[in-house]
């Protein structure tokens, strides 16, 4: 009964919404000219990166806080972890992982650097770093993590703190995150470099802090 009601409601809602989409007139405001006009002052040449780290950089700041928060939430569960041991794995696979992971670091650095004028940037680069860590874990080269040590905690929060610090420093000039156009490119690259490093650790941490919550063998 509940199933039928929900499915009928979902269908009716979809149809109504699709009908309204088809008749929707053109949007009142077009932000594209504003994005393009200010690109020169934004410090980057790629519009999406300009929106992400300059025009709407505040969203990005809070979004890193969401990621950190998820990590805190996972750690706060107090999973009774046993010591994470490495199991024996296939040698050829391990060799492959050993070769692939430095390559992935290179790809991450390229994505970070390329983000200024073409698709790429800190998030994609951080995800690739995290993928390298997951790969090393799956081939038993890197154990899962227990509670984070002081050094790891600084690594996890460092990128966010750097972002927060730069954002705050700009407040003295006028507004939160208001980069001086002459230095915007350098500041954004600095923030992105810090973020790539910490995002790699956080995203890897989402995986590695969870994976040890039960003795595998």
């Amino acid at each position: 009964m509940k199933r039928l009601v929900v499915i009928a409601a979902a269908l009716a809602f979809s149809l109504a919404l699709i009908a309204t989409l088809l008749e929707l007139p053109a949007a009142t405001i077009d932000l594209r000219p504003a994005v393009a006009e200010n690109l020169a002052a934004s410090g980057v040449a790629h519009p999406v990166t300009a929106v992400l780290l300059n025009y709407r950089g505040y969203d990005t700041l809070l979004e890193i806080a969401v990621l950190l928060l998820a990590l805190f939430g996972i750690l706060a569960l107090g999973l009774e972890r046993q010591v994470c041991t490495l199991r024996a794995a296939e040698r050829p696979l391990q060799l492959l992982a050993r070769l692939a992971s430095p390559l992935m670091v290179v790809v991450a650095v390229y994505l970070l650097w390329a983000g200024a004028w073409r698709p790429g940037g800190a998030f994609q680069a951080g995800a690739v770093l995290a993928a390298a860590a997951v790969l090393l874990h799956l081939t038993e080269l890197l154990p899962g993590w227990l509670q984070p040590s002081a050094r790891l905690r600084w690594g996890l929060a460092g990128g966010f703190l750097l972002f927060l610090g730069v954002a705050t420093a700009m407040l003295a000039r006028g507004a939160l995150l208001e980069y001086p156009p002459a230095h915007a490119g350098a500041l954004i690259l600095l923030i992105e470099a810090g973020l790539t490093f910490s995002l790699g650790l956080i995203l890897a941490g989402l995986f590695l802090f969870m994976t040890c919550d039960e003795g595998g063998d």
Binding site: L17, L24, L69, Y179
Partner: protein
């Protein structure tokens, strides 16, 4: 600092900073950083309130990019009142939590980082003037609240956290789809820009967007019948967390409903006048159902949690009356009254549960003689919840009844009175039990005095606010057209 914009920004940066510090330094020094940070935040909020009452509403273009290209922070009377309430409640709760959690416990260690992010999310939400940025702050608030409920918990806590998480995610998902439709229709998500654009002849997609956002936020506010996740989450969490959630977190999504209802969706609402009776009807149902469950609840924290379900109902009674400033004042007064009183009740209950070692109402028999201060705090908070003079709860109900009768909606006034009577029943259930002259079976556990003191401070504030509430609500006129 003479710029209100900088004050607003610091209210968001400070809790983020001490959340990180608490994560890096551990719970001992983390708690100190948090309490210092919260003290500063309270000072900044007071300064902001004074500044705005002189100069009117203020805004701050983040990144130096004015909306609609950038994101604007904006503070008017409504935001300032919510900010004030948040810092006023968070500071005593932090002192309470510092004494509440055992040193070295995992829930104590992560309480500070999670609470810091929660407060940054709340302050950010009250200040944001951008629909998508509001989505991000909603997620900050929702996910940190879930983390706090689950921290270090057993089966019931984890299950409650999961139920809460899915409710929060579906709620913010519906909100996000609404934002997507608004961007599709207007090409902007800035509240300031949208205000004049949303007119009564808006395309149907905008109506659907408004509906999606309303339903999503009602789910997050736990308005009946979406309240199903609230009792287990608020009743099952550690006492300082329950207090934060009941006093502040559910109010954040209520605030957002109110803000969007007034503007930019004001033009749509004015066209469909009957629409305002939907929240009112659900609110009335919440009062009846929540009170009934509170009267029957065997466990004390469940009783308080169901009382929250009922009290949230009052907030939605104001919607048919929103044309008058009196109704808005009544709503905000109730947000204050319930926030302070509910924080006091949960903190007092936390002491009583620690002392008696169990959480049933029946187990409170005879506790009055042994822990008079905690019980006194519970009683004072009860006076506010029941709405007896001179408490702030009385003032809120008085304002609401006055606004209702002025517009001839006696049914709303009647609901307020019925709700008050039902509240009396469940508050007195606890007090009567505690004053029984039953011989105590077990030994009472000793607890730090700070815990009882903070519960008392919150309860006393909820009563005394009734004497100065009218002046406080005058702040609401800042930046308001009416």
């Amino acid at each position: 600092m003479t710029d209100p914009g900088a004050l607003m920004v610091w209210l968001i940066l400070l809790p983020l900073a001490w959340a990180c510090l608490a994560f890096l330094l551990g719970s001992g020094r983390g708690a100190q950083a948090a309490i210092i940070g919260l003290g500063l935040q309270l000072g900044l909020t007071l300064l902001l309130a004074v500044m705005l009452s002189g100069a009117g509403a203020a805004s701050h273009a983040v990144g130096g990019w004015p909306a609609p290209l950038g994101i604007a922070l904006a503070a008017d009377g409504l935001s300032v009142l919510m900010l004030l309430l948040t810092q006023l409640i968070a500071l005593p709760l932090a002192v309470y939590a510092h004494a509440y959690f055992a040193a070295g416990s995992v829930e104590g260690r992560y309480f500070w980082p999670l609470t810091g992010i929660l407060l940054a999310g709340l302050n950010g939400l009250f200040l944001s003037a951008d629909l998508f940025n509001l989505y991000v702050t909603l997620e900050l608030v929702g996910l940190s609240a879930v983390g706090l409920v689950a921290a270090g918990g057993g089966v019931s806590q984890v299950a409650a956290a999961l139920r809460y998480l899915f409710a929060a995610l579906v709620g913010s998902g519906a909100y996000l789809l609404g934002v997507a439709l608004i961007y599709g229709a207007y090409g902007t998500v800035s509240l300031e820009t949208l205000g004049p654009l949303v007119v009564a002849e808006a395309p149907r997609a905008v109506w659907l967007a408004g509906g999606l956002m309303l339903v999503g936020l009602m789910l997050k506010t736990a308005l009946f019948p979406f309240h199903y996740w609230l009792p287990s989450a608020h009743g099952g969490a550690p006492a300082p967390v329950s207090a934060l959630l009941s006093a502040l977190v559910v109010k954040a999504s209520f605030y957002l409903i109110l803000r969007l209802w007034l503007d930019p969706f004001g033009a749509l609402v004015a066209r469909a006048e009957l629409l305002a009776w939907l929240p009112m009807t659900l609110g009335s149902a919440a009062i009846l159902w929540g009170s009934w469950k509170a009267i029957r609840a065997p466990r004390i924290k469940m009783l308080i949690a169901y009382s929250t379900v009922a009290q949230l109902g009052y907030l939605f009674l104001i919607f048919p009356l929103l044309g008058t400033a009196g109704a808005r004042q009544a709503g905000m007064m109730h947000v204050f009254a319930h926030g302070l009183a509910k924080a006091a009740m949960f903190t007092a209950a936390g002491v009583l549960i620690k002392v008696t070692g169990q959480d049933t109402v029946a187990g409170l028999a005879g506790v009055a003689g042994r822990r008079p201060l905690s019980l006194y705090a519970f009683g004072l908070a009860g006076i506010t919840i029941m709405g007896l003079p001179p408490s702030s709860g009385f003032l809120a109900k008085w304002l609401l009844i006055e606004a209702a009768l002025q517009q001839g909606h006696w049914i709303i006034a009647l609901m307020v009175l019925v709700g008050g009577l039902l509240a009396t029943a469940y508050v007195f259930r606890v007090l009567r039990q505690a004053f029984l002259r039953a011989p105590r079976a077990g030994e009472l556990v000793a607890v730090p005095r700070t815990l009882e003191l903070m519960a008392f401070v919150l309860a006393a504030a909820s009563v005394l606010l009734g004497l100065r509430g009218v002046e406080l609500m005058a702040l609401l006129s800042i930046g308001s057209a009416a």
